[in-house]
């Protein structure tokens, strides 16, 4: 009896304690009504985005944003494990080539409704090629935050020494210019650097020649098809004719020193290098280099480039989607985008931001502005990165003389067909493909 009594008392005490704790907990959350949004930013963007947020919090006193910075090298794994463990943030930055993958994982919230209702944002506020990277199967999963494409960085002085006052606009002319540069540069120096450990360059040439890279609703490789073959032959000819050295980025060592030394006069790279070239090249080198949009395969056909950059995405498991969308709208405002550009050098995704004098007075940036009108996304499927890397491996094997061209491209198509078997099966299950034949 006494024992039972003690038990009852203990149970009562426990029960009261629990109720009390619950009540306190509720009271606590009620007095602190602020919604906390969790934002994951990557690399440099993650460092500086916090500086843009006080204004947002002032406009929305009920919202507090907590930024967590994630290094790029760990970002992909961290986001995936977060999704599997149901601990994704409310909003994050996401490289736009990853959107397809995270959409396939069903980690992202479609934004079409919010976008249609939004008073301040419209789809055509953004560069079309870049916006398109966020659209998977007719649903929009992200808003472009900043854009990234590749243009040609080149030595104006060396090009004019070789007899060219401006960068040619077609492949044929461009190659003649490269040959002239190589002649004046001399032994041991080259016209262009196309690092053999990067897939970007062969992919760009393929897109320029009109190759879809992957065909039939992105289920079969198109690398042996004539369009890509033309591009690949052009790419290889630059090595065969001694215009580009067969080296990786690592072998070059210090890229900026070598550019200054004239080891190469042209380099296809992205906007972050504008800042680097200004900082790392010596003062008397400044003014002797410039940027230009990429040449096209034929006269009248503009040279397209990749549609890179990062998007802002909203996660499906977020409990604060309304507030999160406000943050997306805020970060997409032209004036906020200009501030973000000033902080990071990342090019604004909102086209209205490009009217700002900060950008229009910058000749090197303007080449990017012109290039951004001609961008084309790579196929938007989760397997694309894997395929791009295999393309780079095969291209490297051809450049180094290990594999013949024909065999490499056929091998690449075989690889793609094997890698996309699951995708074909999924599509045929959904009735978007005729029955799988293989």
């Amino acid at each position: 009896m006494t024992l039972g009594g003690a038990g009852t008392v203990a149970r009562l005490a426990l029960g009261t304690g629990l109720v009390l704790a619950l009540w306190l907990g509720c009271a606590g959350s009620r007095s602190d009504e602020k919604v906390t949004l969790r934002f994951w930013g990557m690399g440099r963007e993650g460092e500086v985005v916090a500086e843009l947020l006080p204004d947002f919090e002032r406009e929305n006193p009920g919202i507090r944003v907590v930024v967590q910075q994630i290094p790029w090298s760990a970002a992909h794994e961290k986001l995936l494990t977060a999704h599997v463990g149901r601990s994704t943030p409310d909003v994050s930055q996401l490289g736009n080539t990853w959107v397809a993958e995270f959409a396939a994982l069903r980690a992202l919230e479609p934004l079409d409704e919010q976008l249609a209702r939004s008073p301040s944002l419209r789809r055509d506020d953004f560069f079309p090629g870049i916006f398109d990277t966020n659209v998977i199967d007719d649903e929009t999963y992200g808003l472009p935050w900043y854009v990234d494409t590749r243009v040609l960085f080149y030595r104006k002085d060396l090009l004019s020494e070789a007899g060219y006052d401006s960068m040619p606009a077609t492949w044929a002319e461009w190659k003649r210019a490269m040959a002239a540069v190589k002649r004046t540069a001399g032994e041991g120096k080259y016209a262009i650097l196309l690092p053999s450990n990067e897939w970007t360059q062969p992919v760009i040439f393929g897109l320029q020649a009109g190759s879809p890279l992957i065909k039939e609703n992105a289920t079969r490789g198109a690398f042996s098809d004539p369009a890509f073959r033309t591009a690949f032959d052009f790419y290889l000819s630059l090595f065969r004719e001694g215009l580009a050295p067969a080296v990786t980025n690592n072998e070059v060592g210090n890229l900026y020193q070598e550019f200054e030394r004239g080891y190469f006069s042209m380099y296809i790279t992205g906007p972050w290098n504008i800042g680097e070239f200004r900082r790392r090249l010596s003062p008397d080198m400044q003014g002797r280099w410039g940027t230009a949009p990429l040449p096209g395969p034929e006269p009248g056909v503009p040279g397209v480039s990749t549609a890179g950059g990062s998007s802002l995405v909203l996660y499906r498991h977020s409990k604060h989607k309304v507030e999160a969308w406000k943050l997306l709208e805020y970060l997409s405002r032209p004036e906020v985008q200009v501030r973000f550009y000033a902080l990071t050098g990342d090019l604004p995704a909102h086209r209205a931001a490009w009217g700002d004098t900060l950008i229009t007075r910058d000749a090197e940036i303007l080449a990017f502005g012109r290039q951004l009108r001609h961008t084309r996304p790579t196929p938007k499927i989760p397997e694309m990165e894997m395929i791009s890397i295999e393309l780079q491996k095969q291209a490297e094997a051809v450049i180094r003389g290990v594999t013949p061209t024909e065999e490499a491209l056929r091998g690449l198509d075989d690889y793609v067909d094997r890698a996309l078997e699951k995708r074909r099966w999924l599509l045929s299950k959904r009735g978007q493909l005729p029955a799988v034949t293989s």
Binding site: E77, L80, H83, V84, E101, A104, L105, R106, A107, N197, V247, T248, N250, E251, G253, P382, E383, M386, K393, E396, A397, R400, V402, R418, K422, W425, L426
Partner: protein, 296 residues
């Protein structure tokens, strides 16, 4: 009467062993079994999104692995590391241990620490330094070759030299650990044996061959097996130094598994690769133990 005591003892023993057994079962056998099941499916990124897209494929993953030339390439690279890297590592460790524990060496503790230092240094820092050493234009190693009148070698860029470069670095990084074990082994060799051998007129080599080596037998077996298993699991060095390149020349089986599993999220394929590696390592260990038992 007796049997009840035995029964009681038995029961007590089981109760004592049970916690450890259930922990091992829960955290070792269950996951391994899970991995085995996983290796029979095509669990991938689509299946993480909607699990019903995972298909049971029986031994298809294994069939694909054996049909993939990349696997054979990775296996070849791994065997290069096991057959060249592991013996080299053991030899260097043994040599260093003999040197450090030789009579008349000054400051043995200092040398022990110096040789052990690479083991406790983070690999990423080591890799950065070695990338400089291996640099074809500015690297110290190629500069040395230049003084000897030899042409420079593009260590990490040339498919033929990349694997030797990785092995060299791995040996340098890891030999200190085995050295310590050998030093401990050497200390347990009875001094009288050496004295007796000396009285019998054995020279230094004969003393090493007939006293040191046989006494080190168990240590050698342990070091040999552990080094071999470690070398089968080559991963961090190529991951940091070359990412498996150039032209896949340094892709090991574990690196391949990592790429399949954590880069492309083809978990079924990665699990199958893990089991293939497990079987190969087990066979290698058995062979080595049989060989050394035969000799002992």
């Amino acid at each position: 009467m007796r049997s009840t005591i035995e029964q009681q003892q038995n029961r007590a023993a089981w109760i004592f062993v049970l916690p450890a057994l259930s922990l091992i079962g829960l955290f070792f056998f269950v996951p391994v079994l899970g991995g085995l099941v996983l290796s029979l499916t095509d669990f991938d990124i689509y299946a993480i999104g909607s699990p019903d897209t995972a298909r049971f494929v029986a031994f298809d993953n294994y069939r694909k692995i054996f049909a993939d030339h990349l696997f054979w390439k990775a296996l070849g690279n791994t065997f290069t590391n096991v057959l060249i890297g592991a013996p080299l590592s053991v030899l260097v460790s043994l040599g260093a241990a003999l040197l450090v524990s030789a009579k008349g060496v000054r400051l043995p503790a200092l040398f022990r620490s110096i040789y052990f230092a690479p083991v406790v240094t983070t690999l990423v820092a080591v890799a950065i330094v070695w990338r400089y050493l291996y640099h074809p234009k500015y690297g110290l190693i190629d500069m040395g070759l230049g003084w000897l009148g030899l042409p420079p070698i593009d260590w990490l860029g040339d498919p033929h030299w990349a694997m030797p470069a990785i092995i060299l670095m791995a040996v340098w990084k890891n030999f200190g650990y085995n050295m310590i074990i050998f030093i401990a082994g050497l200390q347990s060799v009875p001094q009288e044996l050496y004295e007796a051998a000396e009285v019998d007129g054995a020279n230094a080599w004969q003393r090493f061959r007939h006293v040191t080596l046989p006494s080190l037998g168990p240590t050698l077996l342990f070091v040999g097996v552990m080094t071999m298993i470690g070398n089968f699991q080559l991963f961090a060095e190529p991951y940091v130094m070359t990412q498996g390149g150039p032209v896949r020349a340094t892709t090991s089986v574990v690196l391949l598994m990592y790429e399949e599993g954590f880069r492309w999220w083809r978990m079924g394929m990665a699990a199958a690769l893990a089991f293939v590696l497990f079987v190969i390592t087990a066979i290698g260990t058995l062979i080595q133990m049989r060989l050394q038992r035969g000799r002992g």
